[in-house]
Symmetry: C2
Subunit: 345 residues, 2 copies
Amino acid sequence: MSEKHTPLSSLGEFGLIDHLSKSFEIKQDSTLKGIGDDAAVIDHQDKCTVVSTDLLIEGVHFDLSFMPLKHLGYKAVVVNLSDVYAMNATPTQLTVSLAISNRFSVEALDELYAGIKHACDTYGVDLVGGDTTSSLKGLNISVTAIGQAKKEELIYRDGAKAGDFICVSGDLGAAYMGLQILNREKQVYLENPEMQPELDKHKLLVGRQLKPEARKDVIAYFKEHNIRPTAMIDVSDGLSSDLMHICKQSDVGCHVYEANVPVHNETYNQALEFNMDPITAALSGGEDYELLFTVSPSDESKINNQEIDIAIIGKIVEKDKGLMLQTRANHLHELVAQGWNSFQK
Amino acid sequence: MSEKHTPLSSLGEFGLIDHLSKSFEIKQDSTLKGIGDDAAVIDHQDKCTVVSTDLLIEGVHFDLSFMPLKHLGYKAVVVNLSDVYAMNATPTQLTVSLAISNRFSVEALDELYAGIKHACDTYGVDLVGGDTTSSLKGLNISVTAIGQAKKEELIYRDGAKAGDFICVSGDLGAAYMGLQILNREKQVYLENPEMQPELDKHKLLVGRQLKPEARKDVIAYFKEHNIRPTAMIDVSDGLSSDLMHICKQSDVGCHVYEANVPVHNETYNQALEFNMDPITAALSGGEDYELLFTVSPSDESKINNQEIDIAIIGKIVEKDKGLMLQTRANHLHELVAQGWNSFQK
């Protein structure tokens, strides 16, 4: 190893990716999109192939003391499919690689694969390969999702224009509040193993954390109503952080109205119970796997109706106006990204 | 977790893959080949996309005390490209995901990525994506290689016919002997840190372990000479184990001549120094990344010449004749697979 020792945390996840990938040039004509979007895009004449991959580490991304293996298998697939949908593409195939310590039994892996199979069946995707090996410690899962779309259907992060509406599907912050509940119940259990966890009354929030869904239906709605977002990303790191990716790559600013950010009642009440501002959970929570996208004003009427749970939360503005949040009290704050940086944990 | 606890080692790696994947059906018309070959194959009309993936775990697949990070990056890419070549396809894109503990510095990752880049440049492949996250312990690398080929060019494991010649490129067992040398020098160093490792005189064997190459040139030779192997696999687990995959999937037997199995002089001498039968290193060593393939008798003359380092090591026979090794002393033994099973370590 070299003599200089710059800690990884000094760059952060996105800085590190930029740093490591900057010296790589594209050599293949078929590479339409490399590093820097929800997925890579490969040109195969008639259609394009979309590739997204994630590596999940026990103790960093999931806690098996409250994450059932079946849910873990389901979620590991869904988070990758969500990246493919965020390209406006259809996921078709999947590879799953596992590294497992010998504390796991065949029956435990059967549970994990039951969840993977359930996700494959729900989303119509084929498991086509992978690798299975041992680990020295814990469970590691690497999932690669492959999808397809016509070239003209693909939606990148860099197409937002000043005047576009910023939209998000579903509601935000629920998965984060679910995680807070699970962590609290784990503490209660560790202090007194006779206490039964109080999860039944938090089914919605806990469910959003343990078994999220990818918004296949939103992509279908776009197709059905001939809507073409100008930019799109899925909300995995938190609304603020993911909206910043769109703004940075589209070279624009944004103006978000706090009052319009969709927050479920249960998320709202639970945040207050934890002495937390609900908008913070919604902006910075992450793991929502909702779709965040921008549409040109001409598409507004197709979005702004009761047919599907899409909210217009703000507008794209010129870059020099910055990235701003207008609070309910009409104050303007700069939008802060507290996206998830696993190197700072 | 369920109450029954069947240890993973009871199934072995291939048994476990069969067990876990058996309930998955193929739903997409575009899935030409799922689990069970060197790579999955996806039909994209004019061309097919080939996908291969590997998960490498520190302490299981590599030992950083003697594996320089630059070589590790190179090797992690090459072993996946080798799987793509083993389908008679051309690798085009790559994703690399890393999980890293915070004992690694940015400079250490720069070394790793220098190796990845060197492999990308050598083989003309684009790095198009990945994931970078923290691990609780050690370095994990997940690589997915994507390639392409016309449908009629693809070569699977299941096409070998009785009468076909069994061929292998290069020579076998060198990477395994290189690993034995590295392990010995590590022990010497651990017992006496003042001793300098004696690696210079073992450059060839150590190089085969630390920096293997994928046989891009063999695939080019096939194309140039219009050779179409009937079945093909790359030698990663060891000749015996990999030949058994071909025989099992092609529903045939084999007859291998020990005298014809190519072993480098240095491998031979080093095996004797370690009191090991050289043929054992060649048959069971693994990590050679040579191509093992079968050709119909009509292609024999195109293979059996001095232009390229390909050896004919035996013949495919009817299934009921079994999988046999004919020794130099003309004894017939059953071929034994001592392929690498990481769960039994």
